[in-house]
């Protein structure tokens, strides 16, 4: 089967600053990929490159085997996209925006659109500029999914939404998964949503892809070891195989290991004679903090 997305050796910078360096990413049909990284890590830049809104400095982007810069219309028709800052025309009414999308997307499904219109209780006659932030994003989501896209790209879908609206976003994406098995790429800072949705996790850090792994492997293949500070030098911990990062947090050393908690406890005792190490599984939130916040 052809990969939905293939990114190779992607390089992109702005004004001499490298944002993405030699990044590669392949996404197969039916995968749900959660894209993580700190603000400014390059998530939005990657998404804009995939959408063909930016040109790479080097490297290639293929969506459905096509170059989004060469075949923008063919690619865009098969993608649903909600940008971080949605640029819907402010002066248009909701109804007019829907008309526009209906004309642009030959596969537009009226029934699906009506269903969401009713579910979100959107005022068709109101101008985009008069909608709440949540409502405007709902319009954007409706427009992104009503042509039943093969690939749905959501950049920070939860940004600025209250918990109820966020949950509606999540459920709408899940309905789409149920109905069409759409491939989804989404960036988010809400780790709970990532855990609920993603089958795979990609974390970008310092221009590189740092983690790229099935979600379930991350949950069971990584752990956090807490060791009393002074029991062993940080550098000694870091030198251990499978140790990803170490940082001092008050009275303890925090170390993330790419192994499960039980075997980590055993290894620390065997290799360093540490009997007081407490190893435990990490939530995604903790993992993100430990890895991305390690220089803090």
């Amino acid at each position: 089967m052809m990969n939905v997305l293939e990114v190779r050796d992607l390089n992109r910078g702005f004004g001499g600053r490298t944002v993405l360096g030699n990044l590669g990413l392949t996404v197969e049909s039916g995968e749900v990929v959660g894209l993580l990284g700190r603000n400014g890590a390059g998530k939005t830049t990657l998404i804009r490159l995939i959408m063909g809104m930016l040109a790479p400095n080097q490297g290639t982007v293929r969506v459905f085997g096509l170059d989004p810069r060469q075949d923008p219309v063919a690619v865009r028709r098969r993608i649903g996209f909600v940008a971080e800052d949605q640029e819907l025309p402010a002066f248009m009414t909701v109804g007019r925006v829907l008309d526009l999308h209906r004309e642009l997307f030959p596969d537009w499904q009226e029934e699906a659109a009506d269903d969401l219109l009713a579910r979100f209780e959107l005022p068709v006659g109101r101008k985009i500029s008069d909608l709440s932030r949540g409502q405007a994003r709902q319009v954007a989501l409706l427009c992104a999914v009503s042509h039943r896209p093969e690939l749905l790209i959501l950049d920070e879908p939860a940004g600025g939404l209250d918990p109820v609206a966020r949950r509606e976003f999540l459920e709408t994406s899940i309905r789409l998964l149920n109905e069409t098995g759409t491939t989804i790429l989404f960036s988010s800072h809400h780790m709970g949503d990532v855990e609920r949705m993603a089958s795979r996790l990609v974390m970008i850090h310092e221009t590189q892809k740092w983690i790229d792994s099935p979600l379930d492997d991350i949950r069971e293949g990584y752990c956090l070891a807490l060791v009393p500070a002074g029991a062993v030098p940080a550098a000694t911990m870091l030198a251990l195989e499978d140790c990803l990062c170490v940082r001092e947090r008050g009275p303890s050393l925090h170390a993330v290991f790419a192994r499960d908690a039980e075997s980590c406890t055993r290894e620390l005792e065997k290799n360093l004679g540490l009997t007081e190490a407490a190893c435990r599984p990490l939530s995604l939130e903790d993992m993100f903090l430990e890895l991305a916040g390690r220089d803090a």
Partner: protein, 130 residues
């Protein structure tokens, strides 16, 4: 609803679901032949990727807890009283293991730990009676 998920818990969601099905079966809430909710009907209210539920169901079929019938909903598999007792023990063992490790680490005497467990059992029974 029979199921819930807690994303922040450190336990993968498919394992949370598997545990809940096993506990319901071991406790007799789900009986042999009971139909399981479809993946679609669970995924939206739980707010979970349907593939995650599918993974949990498949593993439970593999374990013999659930049974697949062509073209029909999944059902709870037939099991005898012995199976049920085994499952109950397995479920309990899994939730007691961390407590046992903690007791060992803190140097709690086995008799003291046993007494504590009996006390908690009695408290649970009393709570149920209220």
């Amino acid at each position: 609803m029979l199921f819930y998920v807690d994303p922040g818990s450190g336990v993968p969601i498919f394992r949370q679901l598997m545990d809940q099905v096993r506990t319901h079966v071991a406790g007799g809430v789900l009986k042999p032949g009971d139909e399981m909710p479809s993946i679609r009907s669970l995924s939206v209210p739980l707010g979970v990727n349907p593939m995650t539920i599918s993974k949990a169901y498949n593993l439970l079929v593999h374990e013999g807890v659930l049974e697949r019938r062509p073209g029909l909903p999944l059902v709870v598999a037939e099991h005898d009283a012995g199976d049920l007792a085994d499952r109950r023990r397995e479920q309990l063992r899994a939730s007691l293991a961390p407590a046992a490790q903690m007791a060992y680490r803190m140097g709690v005497e086995p008799l003291e730990a046993e007494a504590l467990f009996r006390e908690l059992l009695a408290a649970a029974a009393a709570e149920e009676d209220e």
